[in-house]
Amino acid sequence: MTDALPMRPATRDAAYNFAYLDEATKRALRRTILKAVAIPGHQIPFGAREMPLPYGWGTGGIQVTAAILGPRDVLKVIDQGADDTTNAVSIRRFFNRVAGVATTTDTRAATIIQTRHRIPETPLREGQVLVYQVPMPEPLFRLEPRLAETRRIHALADYGLMQVKLYEDIAAQGEVGSSYNHPVMVGGRYLMSPSPIPGFDNPKMHRMPALQLFGAGREKKIYAVPPWTEVRSLDFEDHPFRPVRAPHACSLCGSTGSYLDEIVTDDRGGRMFVCSDTDYCERRR
């Protein structure tokens, strides 16, 4: 990485308000976030704004980050674990310009980490905030198309339906099968979508010292898991949830405990497995 050390521009672009959104919007967002933290796992609607990037690229996460960002924060943005993919680079550069905050790729140095599809391998600590980009906040949406009905299900904690989906996974694939976006129960009360992180990352959410915030821009929902909250992956007694990773060592750093991406290297079946968390991988080499 070229910007492994905190990078700070001389000045932020003064044509924009700090962190792009206007102050009233940020205040409304913070109120929503407070509500979300007060009711762990419960989805709170908010008035999502148009952002200068398309839906599905992280409009929810970017609004949450904008609302909590302060001038002294150090921001890290990852996409599928990597700091150097288009989405991560664009969002990091965006905040670097409109907020003038320092950015980093070092998980330990960051105060706010915006993520898509991964939780960093390096354990997070108290005081850090992990902001997830969420495409579909409603864990029941494939099972129950009526939103009014899903709200009622959440209100009554009537989650038998979700168990039916897990049953279907096992019946079809022989294991508690969602390899990503595996639903969790938060604080023993609310069923929550962890966003499309791999099941491998689910255990990291349980009693995490950092605050976890989830923003869904198109669906206009924010939810949260406060530090040290119980997060349990749904499963069956005789088919317990098992985090899965490719049974290989990273080709670059040799790690046997991190989540791996499979990379096709040629058109003759050649492939290699490397850590999806680029920061973790580089630090180990």
Binding site: V164, I170, A171, F236
Partner: protein, 254 residues
């Protein structure tokens, strides 16, 4: 007494769907509600099951502990608990009562999971057992109900409803839309299960033959009113109200 309705009234605008309907249901009893289309029988079923609120009157249910509960006074959480434990609902169209995107086994297992069962093996066993009981091949457990015939879908819906051994089942034209030979088999199956499990059933039908086969008692409805009620054989063999006479007379003899 397991279910008691007193003086139910419900109007849709100028149409009086229910007009002072009262009835009692005893444990283990099958009560058929017959009448022509628009006589208010399906509305009655919905009101009894708490899916619709009457304008006046009330429905009392004696739960498993023997306590009398007024359906209209239950919270939504309590009502839903009844729906998925002590009560069952069999729809006329199995596609309304089944989850068509979920496998047959998942459909049967849903109520078990809703009741808190979290053991996959137990759920599979129960589902297979219930598929056998309704004469479906357990080997087709992982197939989608879409690949089942209408009669099989209806039997699957019955298995799904009965798997938690409810005390009271509401059936809305369970044999409607099926061809005659399939109807006969299904009626036979329902009769066997109802007797085995000692279910109380409210059966809405316009099929007099189905009512004769299954019901202990019959309620005849017309224009939202109960015009006649009594033991099945009495009502069908010796109909007193002229409308009942017409209804019985219009059954085609094969």
């Amino acid at each position: 007494m397991i279910l008691r309705a007193g003086n139910l009234s419900l109007a849709f605008g100028a149409v009086r769907a229910l007009d002072g309907v009262s009835l009692d249901l005893w444990p283990g009893e099958v009560l058929a509600v017959v009448g022509e289309s628009g006589s208010g029988k399906s509305t009655l079923l919905r009101v009894l099951a708490g899916q619709m609120r009457p304008d006046a009157g009330r429905v009392l249910y004696a739960d498993a502990t023997g306590a009398e509960r007024e359906i209209g006074a239950l919270t939504e959480a309590e009502l839903r608990r009844l729906w998925r434990s002590e009560w069952g609902f069999v729809q006329q169209n199995p596609r309304d009562g089944l989850r068509m995107g979920v496998s047959a086994g998942g459909n049967v297992g849903e109520r078990l999971m809703a009741a808190g069962c979290r053991h996959y093996g137990t759920i599979r066993e129960e589902a297979a057992e219930w598929m056998r009981r309704v004469e479906l091949d357990p080997a087709r457990m992982d197939d989608s109900p879409r690949t089942f015939s209408g009669g099989m879908q209806q039997r699957l819906q019955i298995a799904r409803t009965l798997v938690t051994r409810p005390r009271l089942v509401f059936m809305d034209e369970p044999t409607g839309g099926l061809d005659v030979s399939v109807q006969a088999k299904l009626l036979d199956l329902i009769r066997g299960l109802v007797a085995d499990l000692g279910l109380a059933v409210v059966l809405v039908t316009h099929d007099i033959a189905a009512a004769r086969l299954l019901a202990h008692r019959i309620v005849v409805m017309r224009h939202g009113r109960v015009v006649e009620q009594g033991l099945t054989d009495r009502v069908l063999d010796d109909p007193r109200h002229e409308y009942t006479q017409l209804l019985v007379a219009s059954v085609l003899a094969a």
